[in-house]
């Protein structure tokens, strides 16, 4: 059998394999993830807007723990701190009306970093693929109202969540790349970076 035939047979086999549906796929991803009581790391956020020639980029550090919630410290180009704790979102110490954006972000991060994937499958229909080294998922909002704003959220990772992309129906999108992920020292991370 030539190499070409072998490749064709493998592709055919791959097509014949049953595709994993949402819950099974999430379960498989959950099996690969490493969960920690607290997770911390660095991020780079890029916002691609149709009316701007270059993305709006910010970077900083974050921490996520059951006690302190999500702390999102932007360090460049400005310095600001967003927190989401017990469902309350603050920016620089002031509660903000965020139309659910902060809670959605905390939900996704908790889902993949704390293993609370039930919340993900409740809010989104899930599709995607598993590769030996990494996985990638596409989350489509179930809530019709959310679907009018967000068309899809793509997430990618290995043992940790590494990358998130939020695609809006307007054509704009936001990507967040995580790096230097590590188990958070709860005391230190609760105090912020």
């Amino acid at each position: 059998m030539s190499c070409r035939h072998a490749l064709a047979a493998l592709l055919l086999l791959a097509h014949c394999l049953p595709a994993l549906a949402g819950p099974e796929l999430l379960q498989a991803v959950a099996g690969r993830l490493e969960y920690r009581q607290g997770v911390a790391g660095a991020f780079t956020q890029s916002k691609y807007l149709s009316f701007m020639s270059r993305p709006l980029v910010s970077s900083g550090h974050f921490s996520l723990s059951a006690d302190a919630g999500l702390r999102w410290q932007v360090e460049a180009p400005v310095s600001s701190l967003m927190t989401v704790r017990d469902g309350v979102v603050t920016l620089d110490g002031q509660p903000v009306q965020d139309s659910g954006v902060g809670r959605l972000m905390a939900r996704i991060m908790r889902g993949f970093m704390h293993g609370e994937l039930e919340q993900i499958s409740e809010g989104f229909s899930v599709s995607g693929e598993l590769q030996p080294a990494h996985w990638s998922l596409a989350l489509a909002p179930r809530n019709p109202l959310m679907a009018t704003v967000i068309s899809e959220i793509r997430v990618r990772g290995d043992t940790y969540l590494q990358w998130v992309e939020v695609r809006e129906t307007s054509g704009n999108s936001t990507t967040i790349a995580f790096s230097a992920l590590h188990e958070a020292d709860r005391e230190a991370d609760a105090g912020g970076h």
């Binding site: 807007l49 999102w72 400005v78 920016l91 620089d92 902060g102 972000m105 919340q119 019709p144």
Partner: protein, 746 residues
């Protein structure tokens, strides 16, 4: 002659049938449509009793929450649970499937209308900060834009680079409260909120509570439809259990006493004719029947059945023949019907729609019952004479003649209790809510940080611009206020200020510096800059208010007669001092619907207190003309004594009374007067038949309505208690022999 009587006897039922058909035909021709049953308490009250702007505002405030349902779930899987709850409610018809989409579309439409005028739209707080500390404002906005929360703000940058419009829109939109829980707001469709439909909501709610418990979730629900559903469901359950038990006992009693299926059927026919006739005539005259008038009218059973019982009980006397017909009872029946019909009909003259309906219902119903007995019984109740009463009633009455001092003693006994009575005009006392719903309400109010407050603010001004400015001034005083027209359309003055401020920043270069710092090309914001330099075209309320606004927004009531008005809901978090400051503003008033209804209840009660003696005077006049003043006094003494004793007992047991207790006196007085008239007019040999008839009447009424006293709904149990105690006293007193009458002469 007998042949003529025979012919008249056979023609009478045909005449009755003709009357029924005529009434039915009229009802079909003049049927008012689906809104024939009124349940709104306000409809019972005189229209002029409420300021028209207050009435409009009350209606608008009620409409804003009457269909709303708020569900909260907390715990793992809360969002999925609420989604399932939503699907179940939609499937059962208790939630509009596209409510959220409709509301979102309404907000989008509102945004599209605002967009051409967006540069003039800003909150007062943003305007103040931008004017006093532009750099502070820019820093705050820049931090927001670079945070994960900045997405929606960034999208709007080309037309709203300062984020003023977005901030203004966010302030107007209802914001979900923050917390680790999931919330779902639904709207129960208007078609599902009526009787016969809404009651299914409460069992569904209980089912959801059970589902949540099994999934270890906290689940709470809040909304007026839930309370309505509970009220209707518990009312129906009580009607089935209490009504079923009393009906069974009632039928057994009648069969025991009358021992004739035909007698039983005829009695039910008379009662049915009474209720049907009352209902039909009230609907024909008023084009609407209020639920309370219907309930009170249904107490006609007591009096209507009376007429049948007297006829049937007299047929049990020795020597009775079918040919006797109405003879032995005609005078009593006619006098009783005349006094009751005239008495109740006089209520129509009072200026209260509720009392007018009740009076019409009862007068028409009694007339129909009376005519039914007169037209049907002589022809249809032609049974073989039995010649014996039930054993208990075969002897002459046991009690002696009532001495005058006895009446005085009864009054003295009742008086201390009556003097203890205090008027209680509290609407909330009429209804009962299950503990579960009350607990949900408290939990939700605590989580959402605001109490349910039925109060609201009513604002009035000479024109639209003044009204908007007044709202803006009020919002400065009470920052917690949400809603209002000015939250969608600022006053022209405020829009002018906002634009002037941005022009100033443009001239100073600060605005261009800000735009450049974001990396925004000038071309991207060219429309915005052009609009800023163009002549100012403020957004007007007229353009916006022509559209259907999202639920909970707006609050404009209209302009009429040189007055423009709006209403704003009052958050439970506003303290009394803040409120006093707000009310001190010109043209601002706090409206308290519950207090307003309580005041009207008090007014109604006062009218009833005047109306009852007037009613007694009308009846006394008829009796005086027919029987002389001494007999009139005696006949009135029985209902008065029964009412006094009932109220005296109420005084000792509870110490307070309401309009409900007074209205219950209407049927009690009617029945008691019947008792007295028949006792007074009956001949000595027919007294046992009269006592049997009044006993049957009292017992059937006690069974039918006295059992309402066991209802879990305070307004129904209160009504039931008053009828039961009044009838019991009337029945006990009627055993005392009346003063000399025709019976003694016989």
């Amino acid at each position: 002659m007998p042949a003529a009587t025979e012919r008249a006897g056979s023609a009478a039922p045909v005449l009755w049938l003709g009357l029924v058909l005529l009434l039915g035909l009229l009802l079909v021709l003049r049927w008012p449509g689906p809104g024939w049953l009124a349940t709104d308490f306000q409809r019972l009250l005189p229209a002029l009793a409420v300021d028209p702007w207050e009435a409009r505002a009350s209606a608008a405030a009620a409409a804003s929450y009457e269909g709303q349902l708020l569900l909260l779930a907390r715990g793992a899987g809360a969002a999925g649970f609420l989604q399932q709850a939503r699907e179940q409610l939609v499937a059962a018809g208790f939630a509009a499937a596209d409510f959220e989409q409709q509301q979102a579309a309404a907000w989008r439409q509102l945004g599209a209308l605002q967009q051409p005028h967006a540069i003039g739209l800003a909150t007062a707080a943003d305007r103040e900060l931008l004017a006093s500390d532009p750099e502070g404002y820019f820093t705050r906005l820049r931090n927001l834009l670079y945070s994960p929360l900045g997405g929606p703000w960034l999208n709007g940058l080309p037309r709203d680079p300062l984020g003023l419009w977005r901030s203004f829109s966010l302030a107007a939109a209802p914001q979900p409260p923050a917390g680790e829980f999931e919330l779902l707001a639904l709207q129960v469709p208007a078609a599902q909120r009526g009787f016969g439909r809404i009651e299914g909501l409460y069992p569904l709610y209980l089912d959801l509570v059970g589902q949540a418990q099994r999934r270890d979730l906290e689940f709470r629900a809040l909304g007026a439809p839930l309370y309505t559903a509970y009220g209707v469901q518990s009312g129906q359950r009580e009607m089935t259990t209490i009504g079923g038990a009393s009906l069974l006992a009632l039928l057994s009693l009648l069969l025991w006493a009358l021992r004739s299926g035909r007698a039983l059927l005829l009695s039910l026919l008379v009662v049915g004719s009474g209720i049907g006739g009352g209902f039909a005539l009230t609907l024909l005259l008023f084009q609407q029947v209020h639920l309370l008038a219907l309930v009170l009218g249904a107490t006609l059973v007591g009096i209507a059945a009376d007429y049948a019982f007297h006829y049937l009980c007299h047929s049990l006397l020795p020597g009775w023949q079918p040919a006797d017909g109405l003879g032995p009872v005609f005078r009593g029946l006619s006098l009783s019907a005349a006094t009751s019909v005239l008495g109740f009909a006089s209520l129509v003259l009072l200026p209260f729609p509720g009392l007018q309906q009740m009076g019409c219902f009862m007068a028409a119903g009694l007339l129909a019952s009376y005519l039914s007995v007169c037209l049907l019984f002589p022809g249809l109740y032609r049974v073989a004479p039995r010649g014996e009463l039930p054993r208990l009633f075969r002897r002459a009455p046991l009690a002696g003649r009532a001495p005058h001092w006895l009446w005085l003693l009864l009054v003295l006994l009742a008086l201390p209790g009556v003097l203890r009575l205090q008027a209680q005009d509290e609407l909330r006392d009429f209804y009962a809510a299950p503990q579960r719903l009350q607990a949900d309400q408290q939990a939700l109010e605590s989580l959402l940080g605001s109490g349910q407050d039925s109060r609201f603010l009513l604002l009035r001004a000479a024109d639209m611009e003044s009204l908007l400015q007044r709202e803006e001034a009020l919002r400065q005083q009470l920052p917690a206020l949400r809603g209002g027209v000015s939250a969608l359309v600022p006053s022209a003055a405020a829009q002018g200020e906002t634009i002037e401020l941005q022009r100033h920043l443009l001239r100073s270069g600060e605005l261009r510096g800000w735009i450049e710092s974001l990396g925004l090309a000038e071309a991207a914001v060219s429309d915005y800059l052009q609009a800023l330099e163009a002549p100012f075209q403020p957004l007007t309320a007229a353009a916006l208010l022509a559209q259907e606004l999202p639920l909970g927004s707006g609050g404009f009531l209209g302009c009429d007669g040189g007055i423009c008005a709006s209403w704003l809901p009052l958050p439970g978090t506003v303290d009394s001092q803040e409120l006093q400051r707000a009310v001190a503003l010109d043209g601002v008033a706090v409206i308290e619907p519950v207090a307003q209804i309580n005041r009207l209840l008090a007014q109604y009660r006062g009218q009833a207190l005047v109306m009852l003696p007037l009613l007694a005077l009308v009846v006394a006049a008829v009796l005086w003309l027919s029987l002389g003043w001494a007999a009139a006094l005696y006949l009135l003494a029985l209902p008065l004594a029964a009412a006094l004793l009932s109220f005296g007992l109420l005084g000792w047991l509870r110490g307070s009374y309401s309009i409900v207790n007074l209205l219950a006196l209407l049927p009690v007085a009617g029945v008691a007067l019947d008792f007295a008239i028949f006792r007074r007019l009956a001949t000595a040999p027919s007294q046992p038949a009269v006592l049997l008839a009044v006993s049957l009447s009292a017992l059937t009424s006690l069974l039918a309505f006295g059992m309402l006293a066991f209802s879990a709904t305070p307004i129904i149990s209160d009504f039931g208690y008053s009828i039961a105690s009044g009838l019991l006293f009337a029945w006990l007193l009627c055993w005392l022999r009346p003063p000399r009458g025709p019976g003694d002469r016989a």
